[in-house]
């Protein structure tokens, strides 16, 4: 059975260019980039070329790019680093990679509106001159909700002029032109595997006047911002994916958006009680996140999996269980308990993927509802 992959928001397959680049790099002897010989210089050159590619993707200067082990480490570097300098403020729908370090630092969490947008009045109330960092994700991983960072930045400038603005752009990275969408951010986190690169590498991009103190100490790599021998082949793969994305982003995003729109329209027409969690105009092109009444999310995921369709409900805890979503709870108390399914498309999604889920999901929901009614009636 051909697998239908609709979980690109969790991770997306590597671009062929990235697979080739990683393979070539791993097959070519390259030294430790800190070394003082030709083999090491090769590694160092690849690393710096990769830095330039990632910088180009985000429209920043390469010196601002610091490689990390992924998006989570980049978020922690920003949040926990700035927590040494002052108070931290973030949105209630942030990824746990931001939320948990903010909570650990005793930071302030700002509520969101029903449509997933940050409550700007609450943000203003949470800000004061002691705030060192405000962290607001560019697009939400569960709902796909895109945030207007310019609006956020204006509030921050007014109420906490010395605070820096960080954005977790991990989910947005595959879709938005970060040079404009994230221009207002002083710091930005990205992860390679969400945009066609390998797992295990990410970046924190920080303006020179917004560099956090280091978390990991050691050999002083990455200009002392993050010690540890760099993942050179990972960086090369990240760069290849970034280049490929830079070349085709707008065409790819529009192609996927039309697939997503068709999928969502037809699912809503075929399933009673199916509603998007956030309006489409505020959403990333690849995400379709639906509340489906009168079914258990876990049951949908299991039956879709049996049919060879990979989806997810919301975020997952370490045990792999679908817990109640803090994102939806923040958007509305009734939403927190809702059953949702996230169908997320990516750069390699095809019309046949959409056709397949349209064939299967309405029947899955009907079957679950009728059997649930039988249980309730017995």
């Amino acid at each position: 059975m051909r697998q239908t992959y609709l979980d690109h928001a969790a991770t997306t397959p590597m671009r062929p260019e990235a697979i080739d680049a990683v393979g070539d790099a791993q097959r070519t002897p390259h030294g430790n980039p800190t070394g003082a010989h030709g083999t090491a210089r090769l590694a160092r050159r690849w690393l710096e070329e990769a830095r330039e590619s990632v910088a180009a993707l985000v429209g920043r200067d390469p010196v601002e790019v610091c490689f990390t082990s992924g998006g989570t480490e980049a978020d922690d570097l920003a949040v926990s680093g700035f927590a040494e300098r002052g108070a931290i403020v973030c949105g209630a729908t942030e990824h746990h990679a931001v939320l948990y370090p903010v909570e650990r630092a005793g930071g302030r969490v700002v509520g969101v509106h029903r449509d997933g947008g940050i409550d700007l009045d609450a943000l203003a109330d949470a800000l004061d001159p002691t705030v060192a960092l405000v962290s607001v994700m560019l697009a939400n991983n569960e709902t796909g909700r895109v945030i207007d960072l310019d609006e956020i930045a204006a509030v921050v400038r007014e109420h906490a002029p010395d605070a820096k603005l960080h954005t977790d752009a991990v989910q947005a990275g595959a879709w938005l032109d970060l040079g404009t969408a994230a221009a207002a951010a002083d710091l930005l986190s990205l992860s390679a595997h969400k945009l066609g690169g390998p797992m295990g590498i990410g970046v924190l991009v920080a303006r020179r006047d917004a560099e956090p103190p280091p978390r990991v100490l050691g050999g002083g790599q990455e200009r002392g911002r993050r010690a540890g021998t760099q993942n050179v082949a990972g960086a090369v793969g990240f760069a290849a994916a970034a280049d490929a994305l830079n070349d085709d982003r707008s065409a790819m995003a529009e192609r996927v958006r039309s697939l997503r729109d068709r999928m969502e329209d037809e699912l809503i027409a075929a399933i009673d009680g199916a509603t998007p969690t956030v309006p489409r105009e505020h959403r990333l092109p690849g995400t379709c996140h639906l509340v489906i009444d009168d079914v258990a999310a876990e049951s949908m995921i299991v039956l879709l999996d049996e049919a060879g369709i990979a989806t997810s409900a919301a975020s997952s805890c370490a045990s792999g269980a679908a817990g109640a979503s803090h994102v939806l709870s923040a958007m509305g108390s009734d939403l927190g308990a809702a059953s949702t399914v996230r169908l997320s498309l990516g750069w390699c999604s095809e019309a046949s993927d959409v056709d397949r889920v349209l064939d299967v999901l309405p029947d899955v929901v009907r079957g679950l509802r009728s059997r649930r009614a039988a249980v309730a009636g017995s």
Binding site: A296, E298, S299, I301, V302, L303, D305, E306, C317, A318, S319, G320, A321, A322, G323, A324, G367, L368, R371, R372, A374, V375
Partner: protein, 340 residues
């Protein structure tokens, strides 16, 4: 048959899944996430989930984690705390079987189109008059029929207990043969949501006030004190601070309203009747009717009376909240919860 196997991450359910797979059933493994707090295997028992998932991988079975933490809190943890507060001695494993494993999971399995739920419990199912009844396991030391007595025949018809015919040694040997990482895993502790590091006192103390109580003798005279009446179990001897008692003293009644624990000697500990207000009898005994009053207790001859059971030979008091399970030979024919 399509069978959903509840895989806890222990050796028994690992082998249960393997046996059903080898019988040719379509098997899917599910680990229930029950407790969101700390446990002896980490937050949300993450290490147990990892073990279950790895075993499912080795057996090439799909594996899912179902989150029942809310239901577990509502049906198992909250009543456990409330029972202690009321001076009873609850058995949370029984409530978990009643409400989670064989209610919520069974419904969930049906919803997903599965024909049966299997677990790694050491019990068997036997038929009498065309109806399934629970039967003790081959391995009597590991028999779990006591904690599963709440399963009525209708539910039993949809359950499978593949390892009830095996000894624990057989189970471990099979797991080792299959190379399962759980083969040598130690037995799980009694109450999964109470960690060894903190214990029952800390768990309850975080949730309800623990109050000192007076110890009185059967004549009502003060004879000592206890620092947390909510932790006293009828039948308990240790932990009672008695002033100069000559003979062994036991708690024979706990009255949280009055703040007193009545203590008495060995004779006072014996009773001829035990109230079991919710007693259910599935079928009449054909041989001698016996009852077991603790997970590893010995069954004793018993007669049914209105509202409970009568012991022909005096029997140790049953702590209110503990199960009284009726057997006919090795068949479970009924049961209920001891009252005060």
């Amino acid at each position: 048959m399509r069978i959903l196997v509840a895989m806890s991450g222990g050796v028994d359910s690992s082998v249960a899944a393997a046996l059903l797979r080898d019988e040719g059933h379509e098997v899917v493994g599910v680990t229930m996430r029950l407790w969101g707090g700390p446990s002896d295997t980490g937050c949300c028992s993450a290490a147990d989930v990892d073990d279950a998932r790895r075993v499912a991988q080795q057996l090439d079975l799909p594996h899912f984690v179902f989150d029942y933490a809310d239901e577990f809190a509502r049906h198992v943890v909250d009543p456990y705390v409330a029972d202690h507060r009321a001076g009873r001695t609850p058995n949370p494993c029984i409530e978990c079987n009643r409400h989670l494993k064989f209610d919520r999971l069974l419904d969930h399995a049906y919803e997903l189109g599965y024909d049966a739920v299997a677990t790694g419990h050491h019990v068997r199912v036997a038929e009498r008059d065309g109806r399934p009844l629970l039967r003790r396991a081959v391995d009597l030391d590991k028999d779990q029929s006591y904690v599963l007595h709440v399963l009525d025949p209708e539910v039993l018809g949809r359950c499978r207990f593949p390892i009830g015919d095996l000894t624990k040694a057989d189970v471990r040997a099979l797991a080792a043969e299959l190379g399962l990482r759980t083969a040598a895993k130690p037995e799980s502790q009694d109450v999964c949501f109470i960690s060894r590091a903190h214990g029952r006192r800390a768990f309850l103390g975080d949730r309800i006030p623990l109050r000192p109580g007076r110890l009185v003798d059967t004549e009502g005279r003060d004879v000592g004190e206890v620092d947390a009446i909510e932790l006293v179990t009828v039948g308990q001897r240790r932990g009672l601070r008695l002033a100069g008692a000559a003979e062994r003293r036991f708690a024979i009644d706990v009255d949280v309203e009055a703040g007193t624990v009545v203590v008495g000697g060995t004779d006072d500990l014996l009773v001829t009747e035990t109230p079991v207000p919710d007693l259910v009898v599935h079928t009449a005994a054909r041989d001698e009717l016996t009852a077991q009053t603790s997970a590893h207790g010995r069954p004793a001859p018993v007669e049914l009376v209105d509202g409970g059971v009568r012991w022909p030979a005096p029997h140790t008091r049953v702590a209110p909240g503990q199960a009284v399970v009726l057997y006919d030979g090795d068949l479970v024919v009924g049961g209920g919860t001891a009252g005060r």
